[in-house]
């Protein structure tokens, strides 16, 4: 199936949150790009994104795409990591009522999707509310 290679290609980002930092202007891209959209530079340094951040916004999905129906309701949010990079992810291990904009979260490695009962398991990053 087409999904196998497509998912495998993203492992550095999904598994380890590897990003690219522009050598010239310092902007961090997640996922990495070939050209910086700030300064046009084409050289980057590989960096790993921070493991913590805060919720910029969120929602609770109650009508999910086919592949996520068993998980609904589930929360999805945009997390701004401490290095300033924002990216979208599920917020797991939480009750929708406890979520708020600005809430601190940390990144955990979780199963994000499965390809049916017999296909591949797709892992990646999710956010978990920081409860310490």
């Amino acid at each position: 199936m087409g999904i196998t290679a497509r998912n495998w290609r993203e492992y550095p980002q999904r598994y380890r949150m590897e990003a690219a930092k522009c050598n010239k202007c310092g902007k961090i891209f997640f996922p990495p790009r070939l050209v910086c959209n700030e300064c046009g530079n084409r050289e980057f340094e590989q960096v790993k994104l921070a493991g913590e951040g805060k919720l910029k916004t969120f929602t609770v999905i109650r009508v999910a795409p086919s592949n996520f129906i068993d998980e609904q309701p589930y929360a999805v949010g945009i997390v701004e990591l401490t290095d300033g990079v924002s990216t979208l992810m599920q917020i797991t291990d939480c009750d929708p009522d406890e979520l708020s904009i600005g809430m601190r979260v940390k990144i955990e490695f979780r199963k994000v999707q499965t390809e049916g009962d017999a296909g591949i398991l797709m892992y990646g990053y999710k956010a978990v509310p920081l409860r310490e």
Binding site: E71, T92, D93, F109
Partner: protein
């Protein structure tokens, strides 16, 4: 071969969800108080639908890496012991190694030996470091244990992971001795394509758990010339609360030596993660010079025993990652049997 080898980093992970014995007992018409008394167990951890042996292993290993200052690329071997590897064919180890950034110069195998697969991974990873074949070795015990609905195992089968990085320098705890003890004893098994394990009832006791733990413990005490009073802590495989307490007493250990690593009353039986998780809870509080005996047990059947001696470096490492008791005792979320059934995919949708 007199170089010192031991643990340079360790970490644990326990899911947040819990289910109480009462909640399970009420579904099956069982008597909760007698189960709780009989098993010495009140509740167990439950993996969320997005957690499995692989995700628990990654998080436990991230904690282990926080406790040592090493480059994951220097890890030469990764062995994950579990009886719930998510794929029947396709390694868990590759995914965990990829997630922690330890690929590609690394050896890996997924282990299965019922509940002692985790200590097997520890044994082999440590052995390769001792042999000088690798710089660092990673041994993980992790499970999202299966117990058939209504079976006694359902009250205890839980989820968690413990991860240990072995090295020959900067040790938090040295491994002084190891000893393994094994016979062919069919007390518990799961056949190919079966969802849940079967067990031989009371046969899992004397000829299985007790014989092998006693065999391994007595063997390592004799080999090392030590006595129970030489140990500050002892950790046994803990399928329920009662067995480890009883086997400890049989060997001459006191309750105080057992209690620190005795997580089962509120954790349940994490199968391959069981005694390794107990060890992490001990390492979280142990002091330099403390000696720890750990004896695993896996049905089928066998035990691995280890004697650890804690070093001066341990205290500084303890708080660099989340403590096992913090995972166990803080922010738990209690779920009902319906949610548990959904999480554990016990609901037949037939679509």
């Amino acid at each position: 071969m007199d170089k010192k080898v031991g643990i340079i980093g360790y970490g644990s992970y326990i899911p947040r969800n819990r289910i109480k014995v009462e909640e399970i007992a009420k579904i099956w018409g069982a008597d909760a108080p007698s189960y709780k008394r009989g098993l010495m167990l009140r509740e167990k951890s439950v993996p969320a639908p997005d957690q499995d042996t692989i995700t628990l292993s990654v998080e436990a290993t991230k904690n282990a890496l926080k406790r040592c200052n090493i480059d994951p690329k220097d890890i030469g071997a990764i062995y994950i012991g579990s009886e719930s590897h998510p794929y029947a064919v396709k390694p868990s180890g590759t995914i965990v190694a990829e997630a922690i950034g330890a690929v590609p110069a690394i050896h890996s195998a997924d282990f299965e030996f019922a509940c002692k697969a985790g200590s097997e991974g520890m044994f082999v990873a440590h052995g390769l470091v001792k042999a000088g074949l690798i710089k660092y070795g990673l041994g993980i015990g992790a499970d999202t244990s299966q117990g058939a609905p209504g079976d006694a195992l359902e009250y205890s089968a839980s989820a968690g992971a413990a991860s240990f990085i072995f090295a020959d320098h900067e040790l938090l705890a040295e491994i002084e001795f190891t000893y393994s003890y094994m016979t062919d004893t069919p007390d518990f098994w799961r056949r190919e394509h079966q969802f849940y394990p079967q067990h031989a009832g009371r046969f899992t006791g004397e000829p299985a758990y007790f014989k092998h733990i006693l065999g391994a413990a007595e063997g390592i005490l004799k080999q090392s010339g030590t006595k129970p009073e030489d140990f500050k802590y002892v950790v046994f495989h803990q399928p329920n609360g009662k067995f480890p307490m009883r086997v400890g007493k049989m060997l001459g250990f006191k309750k105080e030596q057992i209690e620190t690593g005795w997580l089962v009353p509120t954790l349940g039986n994490t199968y391959s993660g069981s005694s390794p998780l107990g060890l992490t809870a001990v390492l979280d509080v142990a002091e330099p010079g403390d000696r720890i005996l750990m004896v695993s047990y896996g049905s089928g059947a066998g035990s691995d025993a280890f004697i650890f001696s804690c070093t001066d470096l341990l205290p500084a490492a303890q708080n660099k990652a989340k403590l096992t008791r913090d995972y166990l005792d803080k922010h738990q979320r209690y779920i009902d049997y319906g949610t548990y059934s959904k999480f554990r995919k016990k609901i037949i949708k037939n679509n």
